[in-house]
Symmetry: C2
DNA sequence: CATATTATGGACATGTTTATCCACATATCC
DNA sequence: GGATATGTGGATAAACATGTCCATAATATG
């Protein structure tokens, strides 16, 4: 239901949130989050364009969150890489039926709204180890160390 | 968020529900629902295998719903062609972390549960013209007639 | 300024979904 | 049984998502 890209983006952002005030390189992110490093480069680029992270080139470069993790939601991340596509007009190519959806597409869109709400209500900081009994990223950090 | 295939399947099933006790051929379904006829063949086949519709070959053949539309939900249709893939184990390949999800994947799975519930609570009959002020399939029927 | 490090951006490869086409099996009608 | 209508199944293509590779630009450090 979610794209692989969105999954990758969320893992990277959560990892960044767990390492505040630190610039992490693509490689440093790719390892613990288990995202293909070369593909992660593209994902991080999307996040940078969307203003979720700030990129810094050159030596000592890397990525940091542009906002504190408690001001960043799951929805922000998902919309940056793979926006929820609401159903606003009839998917069938109809004449003047753009203003009101039929029951089917109304229900489907309602489901999308519900998901958007769930995503917008969860802050990235809620996913950190400090704020949850179970550590984010399935406690992956415990199984690997640089 | 939903696959094109699921969208097609829902259109076809809603159309079938609006024409009860009638066997509709692939062509008769493809027209008003605007689904590519050849692709619809495959979608209907999936629905038949899942027991949502019954297929009848040969002359005067076609498709009918196996159950009354008020005993069939959106979830039944979606699961037939493009099942909601719940997150039951950690997407990161971890050792003994299958029993409990981290906060991130717990939240994502919660969102999936919410969607499943929304889908299972809507019956196909709820989408028919008789039970709704706005006709199903965006009143497409009004714009085309055989 | 030279070098090493790092993100950027494009080309390319692979995989999956969506779509098309056609031969075949099955059923109805005469 | 012959002719016609229909779903079934496989091969193939097109579009898109995912993944890999490499040259380039930018930045810090010495």
């Amino acid at each position: 239901m979610f794209s692989q890209t969105a999954e990758y983006a969320l893992r990277a952002v959560v990892w960044l949130a767990d390492h505040p005030d630190t610039s992490l390189t693509r490689e440093q992110l790719a390892g613990p989050t288990r995202v293909p490093a070369d593909y992660l480069a593209k994902v991080m680029h999307s996040l940078a364009r969307a203003g979720v992270v700030q990129a810094q080139r050159g030596r000592k470069g890397g990525f940091t969150l542009t906002k504190p993790a408690d001001q960043l939601t799951i929805l922000d991340v998902i919309n940056a890489v793979d926006p929820v596509r609401r159903i606003r007009t009839c998917p069938l190519a109809l004449k003047g039926h753009t203003h009101r959806l039929c029951p089917l597409h109304k229900r489907l869109d309602d489901a999308l709204v519900t998901m958007e709400q769930a995503f917008s209500q969860t802050r990235i900081s809620d996913l950190s180890e400090h704020n949850s009994p179970v550590r984010a990223l399935c406690e992956f950090a415990e199984t690997v160390h640089a």
